[in-house]
């Protein structure tokens, strides 16, 4: 819990440090801050405590989610290069500070025990992301992405709030632990019917944030328009925090009224898988393909959020971690390659700009290959075990049809992920050796090695959770 206070203070001090220090120093300082934040988060391990007037609960699950979020932020900061053309006219301190603030929001969102905390955490995270999405001020695509993200985000927040209000009207409480007790203690007939409407509206509001299928239409545009480094941040931090919140709400708070939401969730998860994977197969741009791939991964994760088993907590944590590592690595290589191709190709983010990457840059091509294999779920990578745990969890609950669809859809996934690998290894192109900064290289290889290590020994992490 002290981590959120510390990170907020670090964020503010970062703004002031920006007066005196160049970007490289700030980057190292921000990494240091996030490392301290992770340390402070880990201190609470095995101490289940309530904070801030019982509104904030630290459990081992929430600590694990907070650690994954901070690890993702740590990697994104390590992979950040100059924002914009030159450091003179951009203000790197502000970007790093806003990233720290949004991490605070994400941590609040994974450990809430009161609806105010859920709302405030979600808004801290979202408002920070609106700013980062539109940070490329003169680029019309970035502007458009920011406006779309802002309007859709505010709309989703309104729906979530209306849901919270109806649930409050039915149960007279905002505390999630109270809510679960009240719902369990009251007979279903004597519950006002707007409780169920409220629960569904809350779920819809949160599904907007994690871009599940009927509510996903903003995702590809926003992910494509935002600067790639912030797309990376969005698709890892926001998604993990959103799923942690959905998981907490569904399996914890509203576990008692399982029958209200379980079929809508299955339906949405199947629709998400279908739309995400099939549309991704048609994309020309790798960035857009990764956006659709993040939609489809939301479908896989939705299959497991509704389980009330003990094992599903570790499954969703494992999946978040493997997805985070693979996505960060894929976007990192995309940043390097598209920066090199800018000016040389008309569309530097397309598959075609990866052609022949393996010839002079075997390291980059290898990292990209491993991360794409992990996203596709090929054995010996972390992504395989993530999918394996989800499918076996679902089978043990007798959920058959969504799993069959998910297996079919991961076969579709192999097609579009392999298109990138084929472009790198089997097509001819003229890419010279690309210079990569040291910190960038370390973070990239860390993701790759971690993906492989988790793929060979999944139990080192799975048992920890």
């Amino acid at each position: 819990m002290t981590a959120i206070i510390a990170l907020s203070l670090f964020g503010i001090s970062n703004l002031f440090l920006g007066f005196w220090f160049p970007r490289k120093v700030l980057q190292v300082l921000t990494l240091l801050f996030l490392a301290i934040g992770m340390g402070l988060t880990a201190i609470d391990w095995n101490h289940e405590l309530l904070w801030f007037g019982n509104m904030f609960r630290t459990t081992n699950t929430s600590i694990n989610f907070s650690l994954i979020i901070q690890l993702a932020a740590f990697l994104v900061v390590a992979l950040s290069k100059a924002f914009g053309a030159d450091d003179e006219h951009t203000h790197p301190a502000e970007y790093y500070a806003i990233m720290l603030f949004s991490v605070v929001g994400a941590i609040i969102m994974v450990s809430f025990d009161h609806m105010i905390m859920l709302f405030v955490g979600l808004e801290i995270l979202s408002v920070a992301m609106y700013v980062l999405t539109g940070s490329d001020k003169r680029n019309l695509k970035s502007n458009e992405a920011a406006l779309k993200y802002f309007l859709m985000g505010a709309f989703a927040t309104g729906i979530l709030l209306f849901g919270i209000t109806l649930v409050y009207g039915a149960t007279k409480s905002f505390y999630t632990s109270n809510l679960a007790n009240i719902i369990a203690a009251t007979a279903p007939e004597s519950m006002p019917s707007f409780l169920y409407i409220g629960v569904l509206l809350m779920i819809v509001g949160l599904l907007f944030k994690v871009s599940a299928a009927p509510f996903h239409f903003w995702t590809p545009d926003v992910y494509e328009g935002a600067p790639t480094i912030f797309t990376m941040f969005m698709s890892t931090v926001v998604k993990t925090a959103g799923f942690a919140a959905i998981y907490h709400i569904l399996s914890g708070v509203f576990g008692g009224i399982y029958s209200t939401w379980v079929f809508p969730i299955y339906f949405i998860s199947m629709l998400t898988l279908l739309i995400g994977n099939v549309t991704a197969a048609y994309q020309q741009s790798i960035k857009r393909m990764l956006a659709y791939s993040s939609i489809s991964h939301a479908g896989y994760m939705l299959m497991t959020v509704n389980a009330k088993q003990i094992s599903s907590t570790s499954t969703i944590l494992y999946y978040s971690l493997s997805y985070t590592l693979a996505t960060v690595a894929a976007f990192a290589v995309l940043i390097i390659v598209s920066e090199y191709q800018t000016g040389r190709k008309e569309k530097p983010e397309d598959y075609s700009s990866f052609e022949g990457l393996a010839k002079n840059n075997p390291g980059l091509a290898f990292c990209m290959t491993i991360s794409l294999l992990s996203l596709a779920g090929i054995p010996l990578t972390a992504g395989f075990w993530g999918k394996f745990f989800i499918f076996s969890d679902s089978f043990s609950r007798n959920v058959i049809y969504p799993v069959i669809l998910a297996i079919l859809m991961s076969a579709v996934g192999i097609y579009y992920y392999f298109k990138g690998i084929i472009a790198m290894y089997f097509k001819n192109g003229d890419i010279d050796r690309i210079e990569v900064p040291l910190l960038f290289k370390i973070a990239l290889w860390f993701c790759t090695v971690a993906t492989l290590a988790l793929g060979v020994y999944p139990n080192i992490v799975k048992n920890l959770f």
């Binding site: 405030v120 779309k148 309007l151 505010a154 729906i159 919270i164 209000t165």
Partner: protein
């Protein structure tokens, strides 16, 4: 001299729920149909105000202050959101001299 919660309770709770739902639906319709960014923005605020009204009504019906405290949080956060949102709209206006969201279709393939 009646106190304000008593006055609020003279109207049945169902009426508040219906009024708020109606306001909320008007807000949703506004978001989905209007093309001017500022008007869309106002529609979103209308949705939030429907929520505030309903929270205040529930709160005084149940004599429980936490609903009204939530209203303060919503108002404060909405103000922060407005600040960022208007900044985004100003940024767009500087680039294209328009705030019609129909013009923004560069990202659609």
């Amino acid at each position: 001299m009646q106190s304000i919660p008593d006055i609020i309770r003279t109207i049945p709770l169902t009426h508040y729920i219906l009024l708020s739902s109606a306001l909320f639906c008007i807000g949703i319709l506004g978001v989905l149909t209007r093309r001017n960014a500022i008007i869309v923005f106002m529609a979103i605020e209308l949705m939030l105000n429907a929520v505030n009204l309903l929270l205040a009504a529930f709160s005084s019906y149940y004599s429980d202050s936490s609903g009204q405290i939530f209203v303060f949080f919503i108002m404060a956060v909405a103000a922060a959101e407005v600040a960022v949102g208007l900044a985004i709209i100003v940024m767009i206006y500087r680039n294209i001299q328009s705030i019609d969201i129909g013009i923004l279709n560069k990202l659609k393939n």
